[in-house]
Symmetry: C2
Subunit: 208 residues, 2 copies
DNA sequence: AGCAAAATTGACGGTGCGTCACCATTCGCT
DNA sequence: AGCGAATGGTGACGCACCGTCAATTTTGCT
C-alpha cells in the first residue's frame, strides 16, 4: 500500500544506477590520469587503465571507445576547469600586452605545475611526437576565438587570425618543452621571452 | 693441426655479403617510407613494413630495433640530403632577414612539396599528436647550431638561443599545419608572415 | 515479489610484437 | 676446389593487447 513513484520506459534513470555509472566513469578517468602520467600516452594500454581499477576489461568499453577517447575526455574535463580563468584574464585585458601575457603566463604556469607531465613526456615512445596532454592543451580550444574578439576590440591588429593563433600556439608549445628541459623550469622567464617576442612581432605584421 | 680457429673476428665482410645487406636495408627503408606515407606513423606496424618487402618478419630485427628506429633512419637520411641546401642558404645570409627567411622559406616549401604528408597527417590516430615526419623535420636538426653561429656573427642578437630556436620551430610547425589546411597552401604567404613576426619579435627580446 | 532493462563480467578469436632454433649461404683458408 | 665456421634469413612460438559478446548479476519499476 505504499505510493510508489511512477516511471515511464524512456525515463532517465535515477538513484543508484546513475550514481554507479558516474562512479565508474570517475574511476576510469582517474585511473587513466594516473597511468598516463606514469607511463606516458604511447606506452599505456586500455588494459593498464582498467587494471588500475576494480572493473573488468569489458566495462571499459561501456564508457569509452578507446584510450584516445579517455584521453579526450580528460582533456575536455581539464579544459572545462581552466577555461573560465583563462577567458576572464583575456577578456579583462585592457592592453595588448596583458592579453598576450595572460595567455602565455597561464599556459606556462600550468605546464610547470603538473610535474608528472615532464616525466611522461620524456618517457614518450614516438620519434619526435608532441602530444597535447590534457593539462597543456586545455586552454587553447578557444584561443582562436579570443584572438578574433581581441582584433574586433582593437587590442590586436587585423592580421590573419589563423596564422596568428597558430604562431602563438607554436611558440607556447615549443618554449614550454624547452622550459621543461631546464632545471628548474622558470615559467616567468618563459613568459617574458614569449610575450616580448610575440608583442614585438605583431607590430611588424602585414595587415591580413 | 686441423681445426684451427679460422678467422679473426674483426675482419670486414666483403663482396656478396655486404651487397645483400645493403639491399635489404634499402628495401626495408623504402617500404617503410611508403607505408608511413600511406598510413601515418601511428597506424603502421613493423609487420606492415616487412609485408611490403619480400623479407621475413625476423629479418626486420636484424636491421632495426623497432619502427621508431626505421623512422629515425629515414629522418637522418632525409636530413643528410637536405642539409647542404639549408645550411648554404643560412650561411650565405648577409642579413638577419635573409637568415630567417631562408629558414622559414625552405621549410614551408618542403612541407608544401610533400603532398603525401598532409594525407598521412590527417589519417593520424592519436588525440592531437604531432609527428615530425622525416621530410618535415629534417631541416631542423641543426637549426639550433646555426642560430648560435648566427649570434656569434652578429646576425642575431645575443638572446637565449634555446628559447629562440624553440620559438622558431614552434612557429614553423604550427603555421605549416595551418597553411596545409588552406586551399591552396601558400608557402610564400606563410613565409612572409612567419618572417615578419619573428623579425619584429627578435628586436624586442631581452638580452639573454 | 517478479519481470524487464541495464550493466558487468571474463573468456574468446584475432593480431602485432620480439625471440629463437633451425637452416642456407657466404667467407676465409688450405 | 673443398671444408669448417660464421653470418644472416626464416617463420613459428609465446606473450600481450585489442574489441566483442553471451552469460550473469544488479537495478528499476509495477
Amino acid at each position: 500500500m505504499e505510493a510508489e513513484p511512477q516511471r515511464l520506459p524512456g525515463t532517465p534513470p535515477s538513484g543508484k544506477r546513475a550514481i554507479s555509472r558516474e562512479q565508474n566513469r570517475r574511476q576510469i578517468l582517474d585511473a587513466a590520469r594516473r597511468v598516463f602520467a606514469e607511463h606516458g600516452y604511447g606506452a599505456t594500454t586500455v588494459r593498464h587503465i582498467i587494471r588500475a581499477t576494480p572493473l573488468a576489461s569489458g566495462t571499459f568499453y561501456n564508457y569509452f571507445k578507446s584510450k584516445e577517447e579517455v584521453f579526450q575526455a580528460i582533456r575536455d574535463e581539464t579544459a572545462l576547469s581552466m577555461r573560465p580563468a583563462l577567458r576572464e584574464a583575456r577578456s579583462k585585458a585592457g592592453t595588448r600586452e596583458e592579453f598576450v601575457a595572460a595567455t602565455f603566463g597561464s599556459f606556462f604556469a600550468n605546464v610547470g605545475g603538473s610535474a608528472g607531465e615532464a616525466a611522461a613526456r620524456r618517457r614518450n615512445d614516438a620519434p619526435h611526437v608532441r602530444v597535447d596532454t590534457p593539462e597543456i592543451v586545455a586552454g587553447f580550444a578557444e584561443l582562436g576565438e579570443d584572438v578574433r574578439t581581441a582584433m574586433e576590440r582593437g587590442l590586436l591588429p587585423p592580421v590573419d587570425a589563423d596564422f596568428l593563433t597558430a604562431a602563438m600556439v607554436g611558440i607556447a608549445f615549443e618554449i614550454a618543452e624547452m622550459m621543461q628541459k631546464q632545471t628548474p623550469p622558470d615559467p616567468e622567464a618563459a613568459t617574458r621571452f614569449a610575450t616580448a617576442l610575440f608583442l614585438g612581432g605583431i607590430a611588424k605584421l602585414p595587415a591580413g
